[in-house]
């Protein structure tokens, strides 16, 4: 008999997400993804000065501050057809890429590795053997027996004092945990090191953005970083040299640790390439503009249908109607007044109509977006597939590297088709991180060369016309396509809609009752122990849903029966 599982994370920070599954014979047979919080933050923007929108939108989410700021200034610039100086594009591009690298490292190590890595098993590892395996995979200098022994001792002291701290809530010993003790130890060591390197990436954002967590250097029309190579308070040569040293340091970690770990751990969980594909229409947008109007980009993006890379159609720039005209949102299964069919974001309405959770009716605060009337998956996987289809050299090269490394560990060739899966989303994120890192290096060079030519421009003054203008700003954010849509009337915001990556992936069923990417990806997922649905968490976490979660276990007969904390949620912190 089918058993209902409800996974209900509790964080308010990025909005609640609740996932319901029906499990029969150890497999998921039906799934619902439900956003549990109404924001309506767009309404705060109505009537405001479009130049201030980015300051407000970067408060939408605590993890994605920078990305909402970038999408917002781009939307207003698109409405004004305003050119952005090259230096401003390069500085923004460096912030975007550094933020993306930071975010992807944190996702793999801090937010999802413990879905696959058994901390307690690492205590049984032989550090010498772990070092030997690690050295066979990578020449990373910290892959040595001294470091691994230290990490194991640290871990043991945590376990012995009963203070597991950050590791307290994992599913240790779960039957779906398959790694040998030495690989678990290696992964724990890299978890510790990743804490340092995600900080390193964030330093670039801090120096260029003037401040984190909320950057202060953006402006509609450019950036507020004056470039004066001699003045202490501006972007100086010393600061630029510092950024270069940080970029170099990061590159080693990405190539010698992150990519290698994803390939090796992925290969040992090769069965997970069969699960989690879900929606295989993929949407991504080009990013890192290389000219003032956004017609040339360092990273391509576009649309792929039915997992077939030959169907790739690029999105060519900020003025391309292919993206702007293709997006709609349905509220048939969302808690909003509907009846008008799926609507384009410029015409979007946000009128709440709460009904309770109805399996066949409305059950989410998230709208269901479509691209050309079909569901689409967004995120690093969508972007990497698009870049590969576009023949982007750094992408195909890094993709080949990861697949070859994984193939060597697995002892069998791993095809690109394996990417359409839970583990494939992790592999694609690692590939994208390497591509972002190369792009960051390139943007630094472009900025230096342009300054070298004597161009110090960073800002074009916006001027708002009488009457109505509209624009879309898009950004290939760490979790996928982010678009802000704005209608401006007489210099004030008349409508504002943000279609965020989690809306694409976490949305409920759409106008034609088709399941969204989270829902579709859970179908046929194995579930060994319904009261510890680690496998469900693995697939949802592979999308990087941007939240640490606690879990409510509910069945349809009795209400809440047990409650366990999800991987990533901690308690018992000692200072």
């Amino acid at each position: 008999m089918a058993k209902r599982i409800v996974v209900d994370p509790m964080t308010r920070i990025e909005g609640h997400l609740r996932v319901d599954c029906e499990v029969d014979n150890g497999k998921v047979v039906k799934a619902w993804s439900s956003g549990q919080m109404w924001r309506g933050i767009e309404l705060i923007l109505e009537g405001r000065d479009p130049r201030d929108a980015w300051i407000i939108t970067q408060r939408i989410c605590g993890v994605c501050t920078t990305v909402h700021a970038v999408a917002s200034v781009r939307a207003v610039e698109n409405a004004l057809k305003l050119e952005v100086p090259l230096n401003a594009q390069y500085i923004r591009n460096m912030i975007i890429t550094a933020h993306g690298i930071h975010d992807h490292i944190v996702h793999f190590y801090q937010l999802s590795a413990l879905d696959w890595v058994d901390i307690v098993s690492a205590l049984q590892a032989d550090p010498a053997k772990a070092a030997q395996i690690a050295q066979s995979l990578s020449d990373w200098p910290l892959n040595n027996v001294t470091v691994f022994k230290d990490v194991q001792e640290k871990l043991r002291s945590f376990v012995n004092t009963g203070q597991l701290g950050v590791f307290a809530s994992g599913y240790w010993g779960h039957p779906a945990m398959k790694l040998p003790p030495e690989i678990n130890l290696l992964a724990v060591a890299h978890y510790f090191q990743a804490l340092d390197y995600q900080r390193t990436a964030n330093k670039i954002v801090s120096v260029l953005g003037s401040k984190t967590p909320h950057i202060q250097n953006l402006a509609v029309g450019g950036v507020a970083n004056p470039i004066n190579l001699d003045s202490q308070s501006t972007l100086t040569l010393e600061r630029l040299a510092y950024i270069k040293s940080v970029i170099d340091e990061l590159g080693d970690f990405v190539r010698k640790v992150y990519m290698v770990d994803v390939a090796a751990i992925g290969a040992m969980y090769a069965d997970w390439t069969q699960y989690g594909a879900g929606v295989t229409n993929y949407l991504s947008v080009p990013d890192l503009p290389l000219d003032t109007m956004g017609t040339q980009f360092a990273l391509p993006g576009g649309y792929i249908q039915n997992a077939d890379l030959s169907t790739f159609k690029p999105i060519t720039g900020y003025q391309d109607a292919f993206f702007e005209g293709g997006v709609k949102e349905s509220v048939k299964h969302a808690w909003y007044q509907g009846g008008k069919g799926a609507l384009h974001p410029y015409d979007g309405e946000t009128i709440p109509q709460y009904t309770d959770f109805q399996d066949d009716g409305k059950y989410s605060w998230v709208k269901a977006p479509t691209f050309n009337d079909k569901r689409a998956q967004v995120g690093p996987l969508a972007n990497v597939l698009a870049m590969a289809a576009a023949g982007h050299e750094p992408t195909t090269r890094n993709l080949t590297t990861v697949l070859d490394m994984a193939g060597a560990v697995a002892g069998a060739e791993i095809p690109v088709a394996a990417l359409h899966s839970t583990i494939g989303r992790h592999a694609a994120r690692a590939v994208r991180t390497a591509v972002l890192h190369e792009a960051l290096e390139q943007q630094w060079v472009l900025l230096m060369e342009n300054i070298g030519k004597g161009d110090y421009d960073t800002f074009n003054q916006p001027e708002f016309p009488k009457g109505e203008i509209r624009g879309v700003g898009f950004h290939e954010a760490p979790r996928g396509v982010l678009s802000h849509w704005t209608v401006i009337r007489d210099g004030k915001i008349a409508n504002y809609q943000a279609v965020v990556p989690s809306t694409w992936n976490a949305g409920p069923r759409d106008e034609s009752d088709e399941a969204g990417p989270y829902e579709a990806s859970l179908m046929d997922n194995p579930v060994a122990e319904p009261d510890k649905p680690l496998e469900v968490i693995r697939t949802i976490h592979s999308f990087d849903p941007c939240l640490a979660c606690a879990i409510h276990m509910v069945d349809t007969e009795q209400k809440e029966i047990t409650r366990v904390q999800g991987v990533g949620a901690q308690c018992g912190v000692k200072f």
Partner: protein
């Protein structure tokens, strides 16, 4: 491991970390949720704190606060706190109450903050002391700006935070209205 920090002279780039961090947390788009950020803005605008005290608007951030919180002598977290007391009530948590507070999920941010603190513990870079100074919210509706009730108690909460800064040994100077720092944007008092 922090190679860049060792090899580059960063006097211009990274200032020396202040021993005391006053960290305002909260989402200013959800009305009284932003009270912690409002206190930071008021301190920045109407007061002068010594170099040993850093004021930071942390918003709703998570892991990016790791760098800001590590190794401090004292972190004073200012936040909206729900303990079941009437709206507008000041709440101060110290010592062992702080981890308990994080576990009992009274703060809207407990997951993010406990993530950061747990990882700092792992790195042996925990702040030596953490104090939470908070206020019970009245309204968490989607709206920019505090409720009238919490706004009317903002000054009292700010003064409570100042007491904790001064108890740590650092004098805070109140500015005359003519010398208020008008460069501080007032997101929460708009």
């Amino acid at each position: 491991m922090d190679v860049a920090a060792q090899t580059i002279n960063m006097n211009d780039i990274e200032t020396v970390q202040a021993p005391v961090l006053v960290l305002g947390l909260g989402n200013i788009l959800l009305q009284d949720e932003g009270v912690g950020v409002a206190v930071i803005e008021r301190l920045q605008r109407r007061y002068r704190v010594p170099d040993e005290v850093e004021l930071l608007d942390g918003g709703t951030s998570g892991m990016s606060l790791l760098e800001d919180m590590c190794n401090r002598e004292h972190v004073i977290v200012v936040d909206a706190v729900r303990t079941g007391k009437p709206p507008g009530t000041e709440v101060v948590l110290t010592g062992e109450e702080v981890p308990a507070f994080l576990c009992n999920k009274v703060s809207p941010h407990q997951l993010a903050l406990s993530d950061v603190l747990a990882n700092l513990a792992l790195m042996n870079e925990s702040p030596h002391q953490v104090t939470v100074v908070g206020m019970e919210p009245l309204s968490l509706e989607t709206h920019l700006g505090l409720s009238d009730m919490v706004a009317s108690r903002l000054q009292a909460l700010t003064e409570r935070v100042i007491e904790h800064i001064e108890a740590a040994g650092y004098a805070v100077e109140q500015l005359d209205p003519e010398s208020w720092n008008n460069n501080v944007s007032l997101m929460t008092e708009a």
